[in-house]
Symmetry: C2
Subunit: 354 residues, 2 copies
């Protein structure tokens, strides 16, 4: 059976402000110094999926910019446009329906567009294992990342012991407290929920039909219009009505055919600005610099600038970002709350900075 | 006797980097939001000295820019150009010689160009008292500032008890430790050394002759050439040879006719970036903002920007400055050491930022 890649690139995230903006979401950022995240995701996926079989699902707003920034990697008809952001269940259902209608069936490798992978060959081998598993067992495969520290910023998957190279999923659990995260790390049967999924289009749509029949009805209506002159109109009408639901909450936590493959390829969801430190080498003082900077008596600080020199003196545990028309100075402890800062800007009538 | 104003504006200071630069020393900065410091100094001085009697002494390098930025306040021949920076003794001796040669004699009110004065009318009255004192007693008058906190960044003047409205100076003392500064504040006979001086041109030159005869010889040679075609050539030849010496060290600490007037007009030498906080109102969290900013969980922080918005989150006791091609993030504790940071930039081949 043919394999298809589905890159989820609909995020409009504000958590990387001032690097990310409304018109420049995180997947368009070049945080590694190599290429923008969505292109790194695409290129990585071509090790497992033929490039002509890769789709990107994004918001209609970003479709043109996505095509432009992906520089010929992808045909325009492989950019699926969401008329509204409806979370991952809708996004995945839409892509599955597209593959089913166009090609009959196929195995989908579904990956977020904006994550970081350290060991690409190990990543490829893990996905290939997932493809074989999904093809032979009609199951819903997810990748659980072997935790390397007691992370409180990720959801966890509780799994049974390994058998035949995979694990039965017992439970999906929410982001834990520090104490609980330490216990998870100790117990050894908890894995980070990576948001990477592998399954047949037919199998996931069957799960929608069974567990989310209302959404399934919407998807079927959209599917019936696919390839007709009505497609765009129907999509614009129906898609925004699909409830906002994550695939985890809507299907993964409730389906009985979920299995987990262990991934230990070095993964990070690049969820907030402090993740920049993981993408670059630090100096002896634990500082990470992107751009031209000078540091005096400074420790564990990230300096990231697009234009200006940053000079830091006597500071510790900070994230300093200069970009376009704004400068952010944020303690690492508050990295998760940059979103709130952006809300303050909005409330303050400073939309031009968003 | 006529009164002359001498504004010392030769500083090339790096302590206000990145606001101040080699081509833009502190006296050219508008830190208050009203006008640049040298203009505020000039306008303040006109309450005591007729404006046509005011001189500015600056480095030849800054002469043109000084004339331009002072916007017609001062005639070009009242900008005295130092061919080299030789500290305050040379500067004051040069200005005294100019007045003596041009006008016979006169009382000089000598003020730094880049200090902050809160109560201008009280300042004027203090200077006027000094003028009367210098005129009638042929003494060297200095203003000692009534300390309001145990400052460790200023030199102190130890004085005797007040008599006839002035105090005899017992001793000039170096910047103290915190403990010693607290003791000074408690004792009540210690005052901050403001660097403001009032005396007759003839009296200070007599002091040079007696205490610094080598420098006096240089000044006399320069004085003899004044008004002749040789003036510029002689100045360029002799001035750079004058030893670098402060007026405090060379004369004030050694002369026996020094008296002190108490100044309680609200004074600050604006010696480092943290002084910005004194020039502006703080919000309830002790933050001072110049420019458009947004603060979240931030305390006692200065945000000063020329162009970009600054967003601060979860920080405390910082100085954040955005200017031209650089951003500085500095703990207030390190404000005094910005000079060292600038040296690091220089050593690192980053001269273009200086």
């Amino acid at each position: 059976m043919k394999v298809y890649g589905i890159i989820m690139a609909g995020g409009g995230g504000t958590r990387f402000w001032p690097l990310s903006r409304k018109a420049q979401p995180k997947q368009f950022l070049n945080l590694t110094g190599r290429d923008i995240l969505v292109n790194e995701t695409f290129d990585r996926l071509t090790q497992v999926v033929p490039k002509e079989n890769i789709y990107v699902v994004t918001n209609t707003l970003y479709a043109e910019k996505t095509a432009e920034l992906m520089q010929g990697r992808i045909k325009k008809d492989h950019i699926l446009k969401e008329p509204a952001a409806r979370n991952t269940a809708a996004c995945i259902g839409y892509a599955a329906m597209e593959v089913l209608q166009k090609y009959g069936d196929g195995i989908l490798c579904i990956v977020p567009s904006d994550h970081y992978i350290r060991q690409e060959s190990l990543y490829s081998r893990t996905l290939e294992k997932g493809v074989a598993l999904a093809e032979n067992n009609d199951c819903l495969v997810t990748i659980g990342i072997t935790p390397t520290y007691p992370a409180t910023g990720y959801g966890y998957i509780k799994s049974g012991t390994e058998k035949d190279g995979y694990r039965i999923v017992e439970e999906f659990v929410e982001k834990p407290s520090e104490t609980v995260a330490k216990q998870y790390l100790h117990e050894g049967c908890y894995f980070w929920n990576s948001g990477i999924f592998i399954w047949k289009a037919s199998v996931i749509l069957h799960a929608f039909q069974k567990l989310l029949p209302d959404i399934y009805d919407c998807l079927r209506t959209i599917g019936e219009a696919m390839g007709t002159e009505e497609e765009e109109r129907v999509l614009a009408e129906i898609y925004p009505r699909i409830p906002k639901l994550s695939i985890d909450y809507g299907i993964m936590e409730r389906a009985d055919n979920v299995v987990m493959l262990e991934g230990s390829f070095g993964w990070n969801d690049v969820g907030s600005l402090d993740a920049i430190a993981l993408l670059h080498d630090a100096d002896a003082g634990g500082n990470v610099s992107v751009g031209s900077h000078v540091l005096m008596d400074t420790e564990d600080t990230i300096c990231y600038s697009k234009n200006k020199l940053i000079a830091a003196a006597g500071v510790k545990n900070l994230i300093i970002v200069e970009a376009e028309d704004a400068v952010l100075v944020c303690s690492k402890e508050k990295a998760q709350e940059v979103k709130r800062l952006v809300e303050m800007l909005e409330a303050d009538g400073k939309e031009k900075y968003l």
